[in-house]
């Protein structure tokens, strides 16, 4: 994916319009940060970008060369994580990642899965059931889920909300790496993360 285009995107919560006619374009190497109060539509916008939710108006185009496809058709190139992303608690960290790799059709050797777990700070916990992880560890696994298939578009919703200082370092590393080969969109209220932004979008609350 070379770029992602939002055209006239609106998002409604029932009868309430929280986002109105947003149009922008993001290219490789760019990082966009979205801030706003709770309920202002940050998470919904990320879900729309991921193809998990339909916008009330407008559409999203994932552009590669001259071709544009819907996010739902570009799943293999999009990585998404959010606090409400749940993985399978009855599987281990390694089994979860292996499952999602198989299901995405990504050829990734076991060693690479272990390396990924190390990268996100879960070394030695690969074979523990997800149900035994702490909330911080669960959140780190979400990073692994989003990065597993090396997506061009990385969508991070509240990426450091459950993490400590070391977790924050992980986020910095991830953003820096993603900047080199793809697009990053972060939804957050943490002021520290706003400095990542090339583009900053502030969503106003409801009047």
């Amino acid at each position: 994916m070379d770029a992602i285009e939002l055209t006239d995107i609106s998002i409604d919560y029932g009868a309430r319009r929280v986002l109105s006619h947003l149009t922008l374009r993001l290219e490789r190497g760019m990082v966009m940060v979205i801030t706003g109060q709770n309920g202002s539509g940050k998470s919904s916008l990320l879900r729309v970008l991921a193809g998990l939710q339909r916008p009330s108006t407008g559409h999203v185009g994932c552009v590669t060369g001259t071709q544009a496809v819907l996010p739902a058709d570009a799943r293999q190139d999009i990585g998404w994580m959010a606090p409400d992303l749940m993985l399978y608690r009855e599987l281990t960290g390694r089994e979860n990642l292996r499952f999602f790799a198989d299901v995405r059709g990504v050829d990734i050797p076991d060693a690479a899965i272990v390396a990924l777990l190390d990268r996100v700070g879960l070394q030695g916990r690969a074979d523990d059931l997800l149900a035994t992880y702490s909330s911080g560890m669960t959140h780190r696994l979400r990073y692994a889920y989003a990065l597993l298939h090396r997506p061009s578009l990385l969508l991070l919703d509240e990426p450091s909300v459950m993490l400590d200082e070391r977790g924050h370092a992980l986020l910095e590393e991830v953003v820096a790496t993603q900047r080199l080969h793809g697009i990053t969109v972060i939804a957050t209220n943490d002021p520290r993360e706003q400095r990542f932004a090339d583009t900053l979008v502030r969503l106003e609350g409801v009047v």
Binding site: A50, G51, L52, Q53, R54, A72, R75, I78, W80, D84, L85, M86, L87, Y88, R89, E90, L91, E95, F99, F100, D102, V103, R104, G105, Y145
Partner: protein
């Protein structure tokens, strides 16, 4: 969609379902318990039945009623649990749509076949069910099971996003399963009574035709149900 990719994803979904089920054993326990209780209740309640011309029909009806209601308790699990545990989003984002359907369908099929085996054994032991044409009986049960899962898996996906799921699953599935039930009971009765292949073939064909129709329609409609 690349076929080998689809197959690999389907297999992954199926294996994951099996693994999760073996670790929690929720559906297995519920289904086995239901089957045992039902057959025991009937056996105790009816006592030994006299051999009559109608006994195969009664046995066939009992077997299929137990299978039907056990199916109602267990076959929606594959989709309902994804919604309850909130893992559906992760799956939606990562898996090809049809792999999700096929993998879960396969799991339901394996679960139902295991249940059918259990019910058949229990019926023979506790109800003194006589199986005079075993191969036809086995084929009839297999074809009926295939019809049962293909008819209900799409419904399971539909009700997973609704409330009052367990009752809704039975309410939505039952009218659609009536043709299956009628054919399966009659066909199984024929097999129990020892009818030849010439008579057993027709119900088997009907059951398979039903399964194929349900399967193809589900494939067409599943993407619409699964999307958010």
């Amino acid at each position: 969609m690349n076929n080998s990719l689809l197959w690999r994803a389907t297999k992954a979904v199926f294996v994951r379902e099996v693994r999760s089920e073996l670790r929690s054993r929720q559906a297995l326990n519920a289904v086995a318990l239901f089957a045992v209780c039902s057959i025991v209740a009937v056996s105790i309640g009816l006592g030994p039945l006299n051999r009559s011309a109608e006994l195969p029909l009664i046995h066939a009806a009992l077997v299929w009623i137990v299978l039907l209601f056990a199916a109602f308790t267990a076959l929606a699990r594959v989709f309902v649990v994804e919604e309850e545990q909130r893992t559906a989003a992760a799956l939606r984002l990562a898996a090809p749509v049809h792999a999700v359907y096929l993998g879960k369908l396969l799991f339901n099929l394996v679960l139902l076949v295991a249940l059918t085996l259990l019910v058949a054994v229990l019926a023979v032991v506790l109800l003194r069910m006589q199986v005079k044409a075993p191969t036809a009986f086995a084929v009839m049960l297999a074809a009926g099971s295939l019809g049962l899962v293909t008819g209900t898996t799409l419904i399971a996906a539909i009700i997973a996003r609704a409330s009052s799921r367990s009752t809704l699953f039975a309410v939505l599935s039952f009218p659609l399963l009536i043709p299956l039930l009628v054919t399966a009971v009659r066909g199984t009765a024929l097999a129990l009574a020892g009818a030849g292949w010439d008579r057993c073939l027709a119900p088997i064909q009907t059951l398979l035709a039903y399964a194929v129709a349900m399967f193809v329609t589900s494939l067409f409609l599943f993407a619409t149900v699964w999307e958010d």
